[in-house]
Every structure is written in structure tokens, then in C-alpha cells.
């Protein structure tokens, strides 16, 4: 004969197990990165990771700029996307849970992180500006305050008017950071 206590005890164990099985069944229902795989800055493992830094060059014109290195001359804008902030990183736990139930709101809301903006006019570097960048997957857009990037076409746009400004490409991170450091040091020496 099974005592009431034993039944309660087994129920207490079975409930979280059942919840886990149900929850785990939805584990594959995370943000479907395949749908966004070809988007700008989306890698084979999805959105830009929390601790990753990314550098992007945007320049006027009807073709994407050369992305092998930071040009020594010419006019362009560099976006240096920083790692997510402390609390933004903490929030990824909650985002992960939400993504298991419905990835759509997360894809639409995106996430924010600081970005350093370097405007270069004919080889002359303006002082760095800090903006809050918003990385969204649905619709695919990267927002940098006054400008934005279409993540499908890589088109550089005026955020308020939608006017075409040019195109953007991802730069090699470490070489670009070296160049930025050189110019920043040069700027502070002047």
C-alpha cells in the first residue's frame, strides 16, 4: 500500500520533470537563425555574440566599399560595435528563455549595445562619437542614431529620411582596431 506521503513525494518529483520535458520539446524553437543567415553581421551561429566586437565601414557610392582594410585616404565612416553592456549581458538569460517559446518578439526587438563612430573626411579623422546601436533582425536593420544599415542589402541609409548614403562592409577586427588606436593616439597627441 502506497502511503499518501509517498504519492505526494512522487508527484513533487514528477511535476518538474514533466515541465522540463514539455519545455525541452520546445528547445528547438529558438530564434531561427537560418531565416537570417544571409543578413549582414549574422554569422553561421547567429546574431553578433554578447562579447563580440565588430567593425564596419560605410562609404558613399553604389557599390560596397573595399573591406580588406581601413582606407588610408578618402571619406568613410567606421562603426565599432562594442560588447553588450553588463545588464544587457545578464538579460540574455531571459532572452534565451523567451526564445524557446516565441522567437519573433526577440527578433523584432533586437538588442542594443554601444558603438563608437569615426567619421573620416578625405583622410581626416573627426573625434569619436558614441551612439547606442540597435541590432534588429525583423526587419533586418542596424540603427546608429542618424544612420542605419539595411541588413539584407547592406545599404547605408539616413535614418530619418531613408535616403541612400552608400554601402557598408565588415572589416577585419584586429587590424581595424589597430588603425583606430593609431588615429586615436595621433588625435590625442595633437
Amino acid at each position: 500500500m502506497i502511503s499518501t506521503t509517498l504519492i505526494r513525494w512522487r508527484l513533487a518529483l514528477a511535476m518538474p520533470l514533466m515541465a522540463a520535458v514539455l519545455f525541452a520539446g520546445r528547445a528547438s524553437a529558438q530564434v531561427n537563425i537560418d531565416a537570417y543567415r544571409d543578413y549582414f553581421l549574422v554569422g553561421q551561429f547567429g546574431e553578433v555574440c554578447t562579447m563580440c566586437e565588430v567593425t564596419v565601414i560605410c562609404a558613399a557610392g553604389d557599390t560596397p566599399p573595399d573591406a580588406t582594410a581601413v582606407p588610408e585616404t578618402g571619406s568613410f565612416t567606421l562603426y565599432d560595435l562594442q560588447t553588450r553592456t553588463f545588464w544587457s549581458q545578464i538579460s540574455t538569460i531571459w532572452e534565451w528563455f523567451i526564445a524557446n517559446f516565441s522567437p519573433a518578439p526577440l527578433a523584432a526587438r533586437g538588442h542594443t549595445r554601444p558603438a563608437h563612430v569615426y567619421k573620416v573626411e578625405e583622410g581626416r579623422w573627426a573625434p569619436m562619437q558614441v551612439v547606442e546601436a540597435r541590432l534588429v533582425l525583423d526587419p533586418g536593420v542596424l540603427e546608429f542614431g542618424a544612420a542605419s544599415i539595411n541588413r539584407v542589402t547592406r545599404e547605408w541609409l539616413d535614418a530619418s529620411t531613408g535616403k541612400h548614403l552608400g554601402y557598408c562592409e565588415r572589416l577585419p577586427l584586429w587590424d581595424t582596431l589597430d588603425v583606430i588606436a593609431q588615429h586615436t593616439a595621433r588625435g590625442s597627441d595633437q
Partner: protein, 173 residues
């Protein structure tokens, strides 16, 4: 020793709860967090099985190679990936996947709860060492230390019964 294990059943009696309301609340909170943590690991482990970490672990090698491009060349994590994780990626994939599943089951039903928390801590430490660290790992580490510190499997879980059957074993305490 059997008696001491039996004492843990008292935490669910009305008398004990009335006498120790704050501790009771702490125990319930502890068990709730343990369950959530276990569900998290379970979902992560199942996800990895579904993505083929056990059958096609090359996916992990690609992840590591991808991560290498994002880390400073002189970082310790870069050395760790280059000299350990990448050459041994099939083993790493198995250890992580099976480790997550074991931790999940252990913490969920309270069987070998503390060793399960230990394995969980080992995986977290490996993630952090391999460069996959961010602030979201902090709560996980704190929870892990909490699961190691208290014998929660004796409050609720199969550990209580197994500890009564095998009083000399440290696996269930």
C-alpha cells in the same frame, strides 16, 4: 547516519515550517532555482543533441574557429582553443553535451545532486576559459555554488532515499 538523513524529511512538516519560516522559504526558493537551472541545462543539452554535437561534432570545431577570429591573439582563451579545445573538439562536444544532460537530470530529480552541480560548474568553467564568458555566467556560477553548498537532494529528490539505502556513499549527500 540514517537518522540524520531521515531528519531532512522534517523540513516538509508543518511543525518545522512554523518553527523555521525563513529557512523554509529559503529551501523552497533553492529548489525552485534548482529546477529552473536544470530545465535550462536540459533544454541546452537536448538542443545540442538535435544539432548533432554527438554525431557530427565538427559543428563545435567551426564554432571554435569562428570564435578565434573574434578574440585577441594573445588572450588565454585563444591559447586554450588552439591547443586544447580545437584539437580535441569531438571529446569536448561529448563532455559538454553529456555533462549538460547529466547535470540537468541530476538537479531536476535530485539524484547525485551535488556531483551534478560539480559537473555543471566544470562546464561553466570550461565555457569561461574558452572565451565564451559574459556577465550572464555570473548568476549561473552563483547558483552552482549554492547547489554545491546545500544538500538539496535530501530536501527533495531521490538522494534522500538513496542516501538512506547507501549511508556510506558520498554521491547522494
Amino acid at each position: 547516519m540514517k537518522e540524520s538523513v531521515a531528519n531532512f524529511t522534517e523540513v516538509w512538516t508543518r511543525k518545522w515550517i512554523s518553527a523555521h519560516p525563513v529557512r523554509s522559504l529559503g529551501i523552497v526558493l533553492h529548489l525552485l532555482l534548482r529546477t529552473l537551472f536544470a530545465i535550462f541545462w536540459l533544454a541546452a543539452g537536448i538542443n545540442k543533441v538535435r544539432k548533432g554535437w554527438l554525431t557530427e561534432p565538427v559543428i563545435l570545431e567551426n564554432m571554435f574557429l569562428d570564435r578565434l577570429t573574434e578574440m585577441p591573439p594573445d588572450a588565454f582563451a585563444t591559447l586554450f582553443l588552439q591547443n586544447f579545445a580545437i584539437p580535441l573538439y569531438p571529446l569536448v562536444a561529448w563532455v559538454i553535451t553529456l555533462g549538460e544532460l547529466y547535470s540537468a537530470v541530476g538537479l531536476l530529480i535530485g539524484i547525485t545532486t551535488r556531483p551534478a552541480a560539480g559537473v555543471s560548474l566544470f562546464i561553466l568553467a570550461g565555457l569561461a576559459t574558452g572565451g565564451y564568458y559574459d556577465a550572464s555566467l555570473i548568476p549561473f556560477f552563483l547558483l552552482n555554488f549554492m547547489f554545491l553548498a546545500w544538500p538539496s537532494g535530501l530536501w527533495l529528490g531521490l538522494d534522500r532515499r538513496l542516501a538512506q539505502r547507501h549511508p556510506q556513499s558520498r554521491w547522494f549527500r
